[in-house]
Symmetry: C2
Subunit: 136 residues, 2 copies
């Protein structure tokens, strides 16, 4: 499924900026940062439009935002093409050496035993270390 089809399926407008973001994520096949996507977009990149587009793509359920720490954010394509909002919740791995991020689809987010009175709506797991390539 290409960018045009993805946008149509999720009922948001097809624009060059959105297509470029989706293509970057699909081609690299891993989550990318703003700067990494910017490098792919070249002269057509505009910062304000970029932020609005990642917000729109996130809301539409096409991509997900991965916050590694207060200064590192990556965006990953959603592979749950089944329906709309069915974001399959998984952990993320961050390599401290090469700064790549991997969606660990097989590491699911569990239910936690919270103290009484606390209710969970969402949770995030960030695992930091050294990735496969960097360990070779």
């Amino acid at each position: 499924m290409n960018a045009t089809e993805i946008l149509k399926l999720h009922e948001i407008k097809k624009t060059p900026g959105r297509i470029a973001i989706i293509n970057a994520l699909v081609n690299y096949n891993q989550p990318l940062s703003e700067n990494e996507i910017k490098a792919e977009m070249q002269e057509m990149y505009d910062r304000i439009t970029f932020y609005r587009n990642v917000q729109a793509l996130t809301q539409a359920g096409i991509i997900h935002k991965i916050v590694i720490d207060n200064t590192t954010v990556k965006y990953g394509i959603n592979h749950c093409d089944h329906g709309h909002q069915h974001q399959n919740e998984h952990a993320h791995f961050f390599c401290e050496q090469c700064h790549s991020v991997v969606c660990l689809e097989e590491v699911k987010i569990p239910e936690y035993n919270l103290p009484s009175g606390y209710k969970c709506t969402e949770s995030d797991i960030i695992i930091k270390g050294k990735c496969k390539k960097c360990n070779q």
Copy 2:
């Protein structure tokens, strides 16, 4: 144990700014943001010194930094007074209504089953939802 004793124990210099940060965290008995600590410090707060001090206190093992998302950071006092670096790893809860953070000391960080080749050095769990007070 008061701020002066904590600083001496961890062998870093006793300064008014560091004492104020420690006192704020101890008095509130929960993790606080820069602005929340700033409010406690009043006129003696200086932004640059604050950042350098939280870095020094973190390195010394006196406090820990809790990154909720790319725009929300809190600092919590370490209760593992036993030795120096023995940060007992636990999950953190963030209330989306009142924005308070709670150290869930009883929710330990587990070992995850990573794909072969990946090595973990550290991991973070952020659980978001509604806290006890906000659920009443």
